[in-house]
Assembly symmetry: C2
Homo-oligomer: 356 residues x 2
């Protein structure tokens, strides 16, 4: 199949730093190529891919200080995709650009779908989905759909990781872990409180965005420096994650926002590490209760579950990861969705055979 993957230009594919959407697009693209498909990746020129790269701009826009208007280049990219569609270069188009493609591509024949990567509960989302009720969209969790039932939901496809990207390591386990980004909605303060109440060390491997530096300096840093149980080790790369997660008794995900997916949870599972996560957004869909971790409602239930983490079978957690959250499974799900959208719509009137 000739497939176009259209990624944001914000980060490279894969991103040099943090960037969930671009990581997922990368893994999906690599799997589709491995499965024998002819994939064109529309992305920034510093992307690395086994697909054919169509680069609208040489550098990821978040790292390119010369560009003041990133939307200009996204509109250029959509025009490039559209011109290639007009030349019938693709069998299917897969967009990762929210609503930006919908007006333009609803009025041409190549079938397309958009994976929605963000939260959908903001006031502007209601007119968006009321205006584009037929644009086919894929959710990354069922929870993500709730605010906009009027959208043309094709299916939910959970994210997946390359099967061998992160692996269980034979290391001793003596701490709880936090992984990702320090921001108000991630509630690292709760993780510190949970670990402290349990008397177990906490290691925090997380980046701090410039927008969140004040939050970190004023509210989180004091909690870390005055607490001998807590260690802040900064941002870590994929290469360091297997050791970091394998060494953890469990991963704490005490989020306070409608998380659309939450890659860190499946990163932990890939290492056989169980997860304790607050019941927000996708969490209850990702965690198999009592198998790969526990879904909790507050600090009290979180603390109560920490004792039970060591009773979980880490081999079974890894197996559940392999069954549910690999990039190969994700790619096969997407291919099924593409094929469903490529089939001609059901005829409205039942045809009567001439033999009848």
């Amino acid at each position: 199949m000739r497939i176009a993957q259209v990624a944001p230009l914000t980060e490279a594919v894969p991103p040099r730093f943090y960037g969930g959407t671009e990581r997922v697009v990368h893994w999906l693209t690599e799997e589709l190529v491995a499965l024998g498909h002819e994939v064109t990746l529309f992305a920034s020129g510093d992307s690395r891919t086994s697909a054919k790269l169509d680069a609208t701009w040489p550098k990821a826009l978040r790292l390119d200080g010369s560009v003041r208007d990133p939307y200009a280049l996204h509109m250029v990219m959509l025009e490039r995709v559209r011109q290639k569609c007009d030349d019938e270069e693709f069998d299917f188009l897969h967009f990762h650009l929210d609503y930006f493609s919908w007006s333009l591509f609803s009025r041409q024949p190549t079938p397309f779908v958009t994976t929605l990567h963000g939260r959908l509960d903001l006031p502007e989302h209601q007119p968006v989905f009321n205006t584009f009720p037929s644009a086919p969209v894929i959710s990354i969790s069922n929870a993500q759909r709730r605010p906009v039932p009027q959208a043309n939901w094709v299916r939910t496809i959970h994210h997946g990781l390359p099967e061998n990207l992160l692996m269980p390591k034979p290391v001793s386990r003596d701490y709880l872990a936090v992984l990702g980004r320090i921001a108000p909605e991630k509630r690292v303060d709760r993780a510190i409180e949970i670990a402290t109440r349990c008397g177990i060390p906490l290691k925090i491997a997380a980046k701090v965005d410039p927008a969140d530096q004040d939050y970190y300096d004023e509210l989180i840093c004091p909690l870390i420096t005055r607490n001998p149980l807590v260690e802040y080790i900064g941002e870590i790369s994929d290469h360091e994650k297997s050791d970091f997660l394998s060494g953890a008794i469990g991963l704490l995900v005490p989020i306070d926002w409608p998380e659309p997916f939450g890659l860190v949870m499946i990163e932990a599972m890939a290492c056989g590490t169980p997860v304790i996560a607050y019941n927000r957004g996708s969490v209850a869909e990702i965690i198999d209760e009592g198998l790969t971790g526990f879904v909790v409602e507050d600090e009290i239930s979180a603390v109560a579950r920490v004792d039970r983490l060591t009773g979980l079978d880490r081999g079974a957690i890894r197996k559940q990861f392999e069954a549910r959250f690999t990039a190969r499974r994700m790619a096969l799900d997407y291919l099924a969705a593409y094929r469903g959208l490529m089939e001609p719509a059901e005829p409205r009137i039942k045809l009567v055979s001439s033999a009848e």
Copy 2:
């Protein structure tokens, strides 16, 4: 003619506060209605217009803290315009949204044009105009075009003000004036230096955006407070401008950026007040040298021209405003441009009459 004016949703039309694009769209829309045209204004719901208002969102987005993604609502607005085009509701479409409409409206039959309101010399503008070489565009000064000669320039149409919005007032004149916004590219520091060298009081009627507050506090405020000749009177409304500008010996426009138009210059002329402006961007097109003001290159030539301001004929300045910079003239220019774009393109092969 059934005309759609499609404005940004950022500010109301007209804006409650500063907002050059939305002010111009307002004046143009009012003139087109006065000239008997059937105009639909696509703008925020707090706009005030004699046209039919089509409001995608009730409130100007800059004032609506609940909206986190303004682009979502602009894409909704473009889809609304496109659906009405598909229903053949308009004879002509006039966009004020940069490049956002070009992919979608290049592929439908209703003729359209975009007025470009901003600077065009940023790196992302090259791929934009290379990708959309046939989207018809109107410049607000010839200078604005220079970085992108490859665009499909229809013509330059200078902005205009409603003829009686600002009028000369019989007041005494004893100061130089600065009007608009305090920001690094406006170089109010130069205006202070020029007035001080001339020993003439300077009155600054200008807003300070939150983004420029540090610049004001650190660099401009000290220059004002320690200088007895300089008075900062804050932002003023249109109602106050006639008195403020009429009382000025001249308006100083010591800009240091490629100003695409510069409404303050024609606001001064409407009051019969001459302008001294630095030769950047549009300036040399707007000022009639020695008639409505002087174009200067640096502080030395600016100071030298201040003495000559009182020798200019303020009645002649007002007359030149009426001849060149009224909203009526602007609207008639736009109507001519619309009509030019509505004519069918020249046939490529000359048709031979059957009588020949």
